[in-house]
Amino acid sequence: MKRILLMGNPNVGKSVVFSRLTGVDVIVSNYPGTTVELTKGRMKLGDEVAQLIDVPGTYTLGPTTPAEQVATEMMVEGDVIINVVDATNLERNLNLTLQLLNAGKPVIVALNMWDSAQHKGIQIDLVKLEKRLGVPVVPTIAPSGEGISQLVARLDEATTGSIPFDEEQRWSVLGGIVEEVQTVTRRHHTFLERLADLSLKPETGVPLAIVAGLVAFALIRVIGEGLISLVFNPLFDKLWLPVISGLSAILQPGTFWHELLIGHLVDGQIHWVESMGLLTTGLYVPLAMVLPYIFAFYLVLGLIEDIGYLPRLGVLVDTIMHRLGMHGLSVIPMLLGLGCNIPGVLATRILETRRQRFRAAILMSICVPCMAQLAVIVALLGPYGVRGLAPLFVTLAVLWVVLSLGFKYLLPGETPEMFTEIPPYRTPYLPAVAQKLWMRVRQFIREAVPFVLLGVGLVNILYVLNVIQVLGRWLEPVLTSVLGLPPEAVGALLIGFLRKDVAVGMLAPLGLGVKQLIVACVVLTVYFPCAATFAVLLREFGLRRMAKAALLMTVVALGVGGLLNLIL
């Protein structure tokens, strides 16, 4: 099968082109380094089927950075290269084009961002550019699909045109090409450009960041709560409850199937959170408690990503982050981790060194609860207001700072300096925002809901087998004396390995006080990431490092939990 590679600078639209050509949804965001893994898909080429590979973006070929290495190795295996070029940054992009041409593979250029180029007053003479490069050049606007069919139609014209030059002359050759094909008309600064300026200058950028953070937080809360109280609770109470009540009457409380599907009745009633049946708690937790927050969070995050705010935030916090031994751009994996720790771990690949990636990933899996867990925590502690939620968040934040300082002094090593392109602000293209949101929500439903059901089923089985009761008795000394929790909390800790949302939900029927709830929620966040996240961590960092990390997590969880138990 023919292999076609999509190559180009970071953030030029390769992934949008990939989606267009293969029909496969991939994450697209306005910052360099969104795609960190080789993504493969199939596309039709006449009667043939070809493989298309979305290669992580690079500025040059060569061995300097991991992304460059991947791209350089990948290139050898491709049959044709679609070089996606940002028409608004011709010179910098053509630098890579020149290297690709000299590598001797057939190349076709997709001159993307054609719309932005026009808005910026940049005109490019396509005929001349084709002539100079010796390969086909097709203007495209990937998000709307313009030019994509021409790109496919001309794919077989891809050739190995080459421009001979000495390394010394590289930039003068490039400068010559750009001068020949491009004319720029000056124009006024737009509103977005001014806003972009203001969000980087510290005097205005810091207040803007705080406002943006508060607005984002408020939006997530309002949308999440709104969906729960206006849509999902009524759905469950008005539509699902009658069905389930009927089923309950047929099955008869106390029987095996009743326990498994509906769970136990609380005061003679079905209780969505406490009954622990597959069709009650198993559906209510993921769909009515967590899904609304997942939706709200990813809607807001998607807008922030597509506007192009994240790298600016990275620059603003870089000074503080370096004091903590971390790179400013680590805020990106931390924020993504707030949705789900797995994409957070993957996004650490935006960082240059392995040590940096490991630190960021471990800090995130210890201190950053995912949205599924947060949603249930908010449901449990929210009624206590600030008194319930503030100690939890403050503890996790302080722990984050303390652990990063600990890493800095115990595992010394250089933190690479900030060096990143800052993309222009773009108006989010709403169909693309909706598509990305749908993709993430769908992923949650597909991948998280089965695990929640598994978790709820497991709780029942473990109770029937007496495992939770026995473990509770064993661990009672630690649980009660150190953490001040009743032995039954061991069930939540056990299920927490699998799903945090179910685990936090299991605290509900234990009749805990606010202090115990806080301790339990902190411990559940810290002691271990969920199994799915741990699997990804293992794949990324190997068994040895992760064994140490797991030990650290347990110690920290007991330490922090014990401390909270003493001081709260």
Partner: protein, 77 residues
């Protein structure tokens, strides 16, 4: 007058005259458009030796203070 990117004032424009650093890093900086002869405009700098940002052509780049100190720029005055 020749100053480094770190010393330039935000809003100021100058012409890059030299990159003084290791080969690998300087090659990456050059690939972003910051190289001898290029006109750069400083757009921001963070306090306490934080990163600075510059505009080269249509690209905006953020560099750590240490890197910025090694990019020398000829500015008017």
């Amino acid at each position: 007058m020749i100053v480094s990117l770190a010393e330039m004032a935000p809003g100021q424009t100058g012409i890059v005259v030299s990159l003084e650093g290791g080969h690998g890093m300087m090659r990456r900086i050059a690939a972003m458009g910051i190289r001898r002869g290029a006109a750069v405009t400083k757009t921001s700098s963070q306090p306490f030796r934080g990163p600075v940002s510059v505009q080269v052509g249509n690209t905006e780049v953020a560099l750590g203070f240490g890197l910025a100190r090694r990019v020398m720029v000829e500015v008017p005055g």
